[in-house]
């Protein structure tokens, strides 16, 4: 085990995969200077052929990633802030997500679109979205949502080795967070939810940056005698249905915590999944805890009020217990 910040875990993953496979290339705006630190050092190490600073041209950048992947490369396309995936959306939605089907599998696309999403830094309305649902809506793109250093490294390494597109959505506010990472070639399968905490009374599914929030809530609830099990989906699309369903079948109660807007959350997908496939195990309503259906506001008190915190999760669990069997 080694302890590393999430941003350095991501950096390690890029180093190791570019080292491992010379067909891995990286394109993006200022990936050389690296404003987040996740691509730092790659330009020096692998040179300007494989590590390319691009102009501010998300449309051609995302489409170029698709074309280069179709022509035999493994492309990591760094989009910086997740809102810029909207600027890059055409090639992701109309090309990347569907060329496999439209060509009957002649074209497979090993492309990773990576970006930092979510709030917490007063980056305001155009730099704080957590847009996993719109990408999930395409059907043809994996959405990886790491919650910790180890998963960030392991998921990204797997994503780069995957022959279909992956959107790797790292939490903007968590880059500096330390975490333990197994030594060596640490990979994490894409569709492999993980039980981050064992419990009996209530299941909390928490996505990305919300995992730590859920953990805090679970500690508080433990003191009230409520035993919480926490599931980290790791990929918000596709969902690892078995792990989520198994936990709900055990606890009979579900709270879903997602930093995205309610209307853009996968909380809805998870609720729908459970309500279809584990309905008989459910003993209470499924309570979503999300950001309201608004762009994130700038002023710190507004931003703090919008993004789920431990107290919101605790309140949701308490409401759920209250409504049990009503």
């Amino acid at each position: 085990m080694m302890r590393k910040r999430m941003i350095h875990a991501i950096n390690d993953a890029l180093f190791e995969e570019m080292e491992r496979d010379e067909r891995v290339i990286l394109i993006g705006e200022d990936v050389g200077a690296s404003i987040f630190g996740d691509t730092r050092g790659l330009l020096d190490r692998f040179g300007p052929d494989r590590v390319r600073d691009t102009p501010i041209s998300e449309a051609v950048m995302s489409g170029m990633a698709v074309g280069a992947a179709a022509a035999g490369y493994r492309v990591v396309c760094h989009l910086m802030y997740a809102n810029f995936i909207y600027t890059a959306f055409d090639a992701i939605a109309n090309q990347a997500s569907r060329l496999r089907l439209m060509t009957n599998g002649q074209i497979r696309l090993p492309v990773v679109f990576m970006a930092a999403g979510g709030g917490g830094r007063s980056n305001a309305g155009q730099h704080s979205d957590y847009p996993h649902a719109p990408v999930a809506s395409l059907g043809g793109v994996y959405v990886a949502t790491p919650s910790c250093s180890a998963d960030a490294k392991g998921l990204l390494k797997t994503a780069i080795r995957t022959d279909d597109p992956v959107f790797f959505l790292q939490p903007t506010s968590r880059g500096g967070e330390m975490g333990d990472i197994p030594e060596g070639d640490h990979t994490v399968p894409l569709v492999s939810a993980h039980v981050a905490r064992q419990g009996d009374d209530v299941t909390i599914v928490a996505v990305g940056a919300m995992l730590r929030i859920a953990m805090r809530a679970a500690d508080a609830l433990a003191e009230e005698g409520v035993s919480v099990e926490i599931v980290d989906p790791r990929t918000s699309y596709p969902l690892d249905e078995d792990v989520i369903l198994a936990s709900v079948r055990k606890t009979g109660h579900l709270v879903v915590v997602d930093e995205a807007r309610a209307a853009g959350s996968v909380a809805n997908h998870i609720s729908a999944l459970v309500c279809e496939k584990a309905f008989s195990a459910l003993r209470a309503p499924i309570i979503p805890v999300t950001t309201p259906d608004l762009a994130v506001a700038y002023s710190p008190p507004l931003e703090k009020a919008m993004i789920p915190g431990p107290e919101d999760v605790v309140a949701a669990v308490q409401r759920l217990i209250k409504e049990t069997g009503q």
Binding site: P55, G67, A70, A71, T103, Q106, I107, G140
Partner: protein, 326 residues
């Protein structure tokens, strides 16, 4: 038929143009007869562009195409049978019936596919050009697109990055005078070929119905690209004899062009012009053309007939294209 027009002789090129023409005439009558499940956009009148450009390419050069893509598919070496089967929606189609007319692709021939998104192929070809540059084997990426597509911003983004990185990218704009039902000058300001100038990308405007002119311009562009000289924009002036889409009379309430304009352009037919030139210069016996036309007509008829009743795809095959299925 010739599966690769590289360094082909003039008779091969004439055959290729005729192959495209006959294939499209067959599709036109199939459409009238209600035999085609989806929309088709025919290339009749533009054959010299695809034929002339692809004459200099081989299977390891990449092309991207448009919604009007049958001619590019055939000229780059795509199999007519597999194309007809695809457009008929049959399992024997080049894309197994999954793609249809707007998505005919054959990766083994370097055809990344027709594309239903106007301008969509531009970024893909840019990425393919990046891939060939990294491969270092003097391959190129070629993008066919229309005059209407020149209004998509991604063209400027591609010109910028192609210039900066000296990408072996050949942008072939087929200016057929219309963007759907809008005359080009209603939707395109100035000369398309000149849009490359500010980026320092060489460009030229040519008579796209003159195969020799297309061959010259693409040879120049290819030599440049294969020798590290970077990209080129070729604007080929041509005309689509058929409508934007077969059957358009059914939904258009007003006419958008005059019959005599169409007649004038019939007089500029690229196939007849080239055939005449060959006869005049003694490269072809005068009786040869009729004979050739008949052979190819028969070849196309056989190709279409023999797949017209092929089985439809198995519904179970849909699962093969889901994420996670290998």
């Amino acid at each position: 038929m010739i599966s690769n027009t590289r360094a082909a002789g003039s008779l091969d090129l004439l055959r290729m143009m005729l192959t495209i023409r006959k294939a499209e005439e067959r599709l036109a009558s199939d459409f009238k007869a209600g035999l085609l499940p989806g929309p088709v956009h025919l290339y009749i009148g533009q054959e010299a562009v695809a034929t002339g450009v692809c004459a200099g390419l081989d299977d390891r050069d990449w092309i991207t195409s448009t919604h009007r893509g049958h001619g590019h598919f055939l000229a780059k070496g795509g199999d007519p049978k597999a194309m007809f089967a695809e457009i008929y929606g049959r399992s024997t189609g080049i894309c197994g019936g999954f793609g249809g007319s707007m998505h005919v692709a054959d990766v083994s021939k370097g055809i990344l596919g027709a594309n239903g998104i106007v301008g969509g192929g531009i970024a893909l070809a840019t990425g393919a050009a990046l891939a060939t540059q990294l491969d270092g084997e003097n391959r190129v990426g070629v993008c066919f697109f229309g005059d209407g597509a020149a209004a998509q911003g991604v063209l400027g983004e591609a010109l910028n990055v192609a210039s900066l990185w000296k990408l072996p990218l050949i942008l072939v704009c087929e200016n057929n005078g219309f963007s759907e039902f809008s005359p080009s000058n209603n939707v395109i300001a100035g000369d398309i070929y000149r849009r490359a100038e500010p980026y320092g990308v060489p460009s030229v405007r040519i008579d796209g119905n003159d195969l020799d002119a297309v061959l010259d311009a693409s040879r120049t562009a290819l030599d440049r690209a294969r020798n590290g000289g970077g990209g080129t924009l070729i604007e080929a002036l041509t005309y689509r004899i058929h409508g934007h889409v077969e059957g358009e009379q059914a939904f258009l309430k007003t006419r958008y062009r005059e019959d005599d304009e169409i007649e004038r352009w019939r007089g500029e037919d690229p196939i007849e012009r080239y055939a005449r030139r060959l006869v005049d210069q003694g490269e072809m016996a005068s009786g040869k053309f009729a004979e050739m036309e008949e052979d190819i007509g028969r070849m196309i008829k056989d190709a279409a007939d023999c797949v017209a009743d092929d089985p439809y795809p198995e519904i179970g095959n849909l699962e093969r294209h889901r994420l996670g299925a290998e």
